[in-house]
């Protein structure tokens, strides 16, 4: 079932939803949001695109293999724990740098960790959806 309205709309919606998801990720530390929800919203964005344009198009837009995104997320999360080890503090002690930029504010290892969660959740959801969809076609 191909709908040209949905297909056209999904292109803009994808971008909007992705921006929204990053917004959720960044504000997560102070307001409702965070890496987990952000990742889910991003995944929903791609899922919408997939429903509108089909699996191949969705994959092209995503560019990366979802499994690689999972790995990248996990590595990012683990990397965020390393500064504490290097500094000789207790494992996973948070470090913050005040950038002074409005909307972003303080940046620190917890944000990096949240980013890792974001990618991981995105990767997991998409890998499951894509696998199901692929099996469906074959």
């Amino acid at each position: 079932m191909y709908s040209i309205i949905l297909s056209t709309a999904s292109r803009y919606l994808l971008l909007l939803l992705l921006i929204f998801s990053v917004f959720l990720l960044l504000r997560g530390h102070n307001e409702p949001g965070g890496g987990f929800v952000g990742g889910l919203v991003a995944a929903a964005a791609y899922a919408l695109y997939f429903i509108a344009n089909g699996i191949e198009a969705a994959k092209t837009v995503l560019r990366f293999d979802p499994l690689r995104i999972i790995a990248a997320g996990l590595i990012t999360a683990i990397a965020s724990t390393l500064p504490s080890l290097v500094a000789g503090e207790r494992f996973m002690t948070a470090f913050w740098i005040d950038t002074g930029i409005p909307f972003i504010g303080k940046v620190g290892t917890p944000l990096l960790f949240d980013l890792g969660i974001y990618f991981l959740v995105l990767g997991i959801t998409l890998s499951i959806i894509f696998s199901l969809a692929e099996e469906d076609r074959s």
Binding site: H29, N30, E31, P32, F36, L67, F113, G123, I128, D136
Partner: protein, 730 residues
């Protein structure tokens, strides 16, 4: 290594105790603490000396085996763990090494893993000693509850406290069962003869000289701390004595060199345990002399048996004879060790046996009976020795499967050295063992003994007993020779043999496991879910029932318009979900349900949760739709009785959750966690969203674990789906 420990000899002999401790898991009271005193030093010296001889010997012996590298690794692991066992001061550390010896023994017995009998014997040894290990662990934990410490040295003055405690009988029995299984005491003895499937150096090292002595060591080590009571002494005494006599009798029908030696080892282990059970000063003295003597001669004889096997191709005593001409050096070594084992002047075995008899004669109640038993058992040991140490070498030559010739140098040196030491210790006992003996005895009895050991003590009852033993042994030998054919068929009825009990238990466990697996894991996803839910619900209801009084339910029934509307939507959606005949409709209903619950979260001040819920519900619907494509048309598959059952389960889960929520809200949480997080979130976590700060900062390590699990789960899902797709599944 032997020499390194030997250099400590003067220090220990002077009465010092060396103790080293490194904290390992301090929160559990586990320290890597080691203790070197007289008792452990004598074991360490035995282990390292015989170990050296065995390693040397194995260098030549193992040439015919494949994968010798593995063999050396296993035996190296064993040697390390055995040393660790006798040196540990911490009960849990000792238990760790204890299990490691069991595991390396398992690997070594099963070294010829292409033979079924090897595998079976290895498994048997592992299960029996492993089961004993579990009881030992329970004993150790109970002991910890009484004393509050795992350090053996800290129990030193606590004997009174421990033995008076109501848990004491349990502790004593559990520890003793552990020791008995390890040292192959009756009725757990059956694994040791079967363990002779292992390559001969292993039998010599693990199953005669060292590992089987671990149980004896444990009894000796704990004797001062938790011994000294009737229950301890009598159990030890009776078990030791019955092992001694039964295994000696069983040795009568064996024809295999190594099995003969195994049964005589059992008899000796029984004697050692019995001596600890007697527990007098003299008995402890006898214990040590006998321990050292036995390690020396039994190690030698096993190695000689291996040499015979290696050079002639058979281990059947009936097929060996007249080998002294082709193998003179082996013959001399065997003769020396055998004389020691039989207890002939002037070898160390003689002193051992003399002291054993003397120690038994001291006993008032059991003395005469036990002496008779000991003489009988020793007579059988003498018979075994005649078969192993003399028959293959003397008498008329018998054709063997392989042309015999003298063993290579490496295989001669080890046994010869051990045999010669037996002779040296026998002639000069004062120099070699006396001083260490005093310290060792002190570790067991905590009294200083001044022991005099001498080889000749004049004509007396004890000497007479020695002669009687030798004569009886010779007699048994002759009887056994004349009836060689019939003996093999002799045997006890199956129900009398503990090994048959073992088989029965093993079969029982296996069939129970099968039944249980069939019941719980029958491959229907539905049943798995039902089992899990029913179990959880019943347990939770039980908990509620127990604490029924504590829960005082006072719900607030005033509801707002939004709440009422939401509740209405939820109920309607649920009704639709249950009665729907189309899958798509069910999924939509489920989605409605999810979103309503998300709104509930928002209303009650959990926007994070609500947001997440919305996102998940959205994706859920997509996933369901994708799965839907593949399912066959919606049929009413379940019978109405099944539906009834499902309804009951579902309702009970619902009731339970309601109860839980009501109960949880009726308790005031006073843990202060909520307040702590709310207060420290901004200053320490640099964030106002408490939930998120908890997730990524305060409890970040939990989150890290969770996302790792998620990633692995995703990999699993993808793999499953891809597998189906590639395999051309439905």
């Amino acid at each position: 290594m032997f020499f390194s420990f030997l250099s400590r000899y003067p220090q220990i002999a002077a009465g010092e105790v060396i103790r080293e401790s490194v904290p390992w898991v301090p929160s559990l009271g586990i320290n890597a603490s080691f203790l070197l005193d007289g008792l452990s030093l004598s074991f360490v010296l035995i282990i390292s000396l015989i170990g050296a001889a065995v390693f040397l010997y194995a260098g030549a012996y193992m040439k015919k085996y494949a994968e010798t590298g593995r063999f050396y690794v296993y035996i190296g692991i064993f040697m390390t763990s055995m040393l660790g066992l006798v040196l540990s001061d911490n009960m849990l550390l000792m238990f760790l090494f204890w299990e490691l010896t069991g595991i390396s023994s398992f690997l070594l017995i099963g070294f010829n893993h292409h033979k079924e009998s090897s595998r079976k014997a290895a498994l048997q040894a592992l299960l029996v000693t492993g089961g004993g290990g579990l009881t030992l662990l329970s004993g150790i934990i109970l002991l910890y509850q009484v004393t509050g410490s795992f350090e053996i040295s800290s129990f030193y003055d606590m004997n009174g406290i421990i033995t008076a405690h109501p848990l004491y009988p349990a502790i004593a029995l559990l520890v003793l069962i552990g020791a008995f299984t390890k040292s192959a005491q009756f009725p757990f003895h059956f694994w040791l003869p079967n363990a002779m499937e292992a390559p001969t150096p292993v039998s010599a090292y693990l199953h005669s000289a060292t590992m089987v002595k671990a149980g004896v060591y444990l009894i000796a080590r704990m004797n001062h701390e938790i011994g000294g009571t009737p229950i301890w002494q009598d159990t030890v005494l009776l078990t030791g004595a019955s092992t001694m006599i039964f295994s000696a009798l069983l040795a009568f029908k064996q024809t295999d060199l190594k099995k003969l030696l195994a049964y005589s080892t059992l008899a000796v282990l029984g004697t050692l345990v019995m001596l600890l059970g007697i527990g007098s000063k003299l008995a402890i003295k006898a214990f040590f002399i006998y321990l050292i003597a036995h390690s020396l001669y039994k190690g030698t004889l096993f190695l000689v048996a291996g040499t015979l096997d290696h050079e002639t191709g058979t281990r059947d005593v009936g097929m060996l004879g007249g080998l002294r001409k082709p193998m003179p050096l082996t013959a001399i070594t065997a003769a020396l060790a055998s004389l020691s084992m039989m207890g002939v002047i002037p070898l160390v075995g003689f002193i051992g046996k003399e002291t054993v008899y003397k120690a038994i004669l001291e006993l008032e109640y059991w003395g005469m009976f036990l002496v008779a038993a000991a003489v009988l058992a020793n007579a059988f040991v003498v018979m075994v020795t005649l078969f192993v140490g003399f028959k293959p070498f003397w008498g008329k030559t018998i054709q063997t499967p392989r042309q015999p010739h003298e063993a290579p140098f490496k295989m001669l040196l080890g046994p010869a050295l051990l045999a010669a030491l037996g002779l040296l210790f026998g002639i000069f006992p004062d120099i070699f063992i006396a001083s260490m003996l005093e310290q060792s005895a002190q570790s067991i009895l905590s009294e200083t003994l001044s022991l005099k050991i001498s080889i000749w003590q004049g004509f007396n009852l004890v000497l007479l007993l020695s002669f009687v033993t030798l004569l009886l042994g010779g007699l048994f030998y002759l009887i056994r020779l004349t009836m060689s054919g019939q003996v093999v068929r002799m045997g006890m009825p199956a129900f009398m043999r503990p090994s048959a009990w073992y088989e029965a238990v093993l079969r029982g466990v296996l069939s129970f496991a099968t039944i249980q697996t069939r019941f719980f894991q029958n491959g229907y996803l539905r049943n798995y879910i039902i089992v899990v839910i029913v179990t959880a619900v019943s347990l939770a209801f039980l908990a509620f029932y127990r604490s029924a009084e504590a829960v005082s339910v006072s719900p607030d029934f005033s509801i707002t318009f939004y709440e009422g509307a939401l509740a209405f939507i939820i109920v309607v959606a649920t009704g639709l979900l249950i009665n729907s005949r189309s899958r798509l409709k069910s999924i939509v209903a489920l989605g409605v349900l999810g979103f309503s619950i998300g709104i509930v979260f928002v209303i009650y001040g959990a926007p994070d949760l609500g947001l997440t819920m919305f996102a998940i519900e959205t994706l859920n619907v997509i996933l369901f739709v994708l799965v839907l494509y593949k399912l066959p048309g919606f049929l009413k598959l379940s019978r109405s009785s099944n539906r009834g059952r499902d309804a009951v389960i579902a309702v009970s889960v619902g009731v339970l959750m309601t109860l839980t929520v009501l109960a949880a809200s009726s308790f005031e949480l006073s843990s202060g966690l909520k307040q702590y997080f709310a207060e420290t979130s901004l200053p320490d976590g640099k964030g106002r969203n408490v939930v998120n700060v908890i997730l990524v900062d305060f409890r970040a390590i939990d989150t890290l674990g969770e996302i790792t699990v998620l990633a692995v789960a995703a990999l699993g899902v993808v793999a499953l789906l891809k597998l189906r797709a590639d395999g051309g599944g439905r």
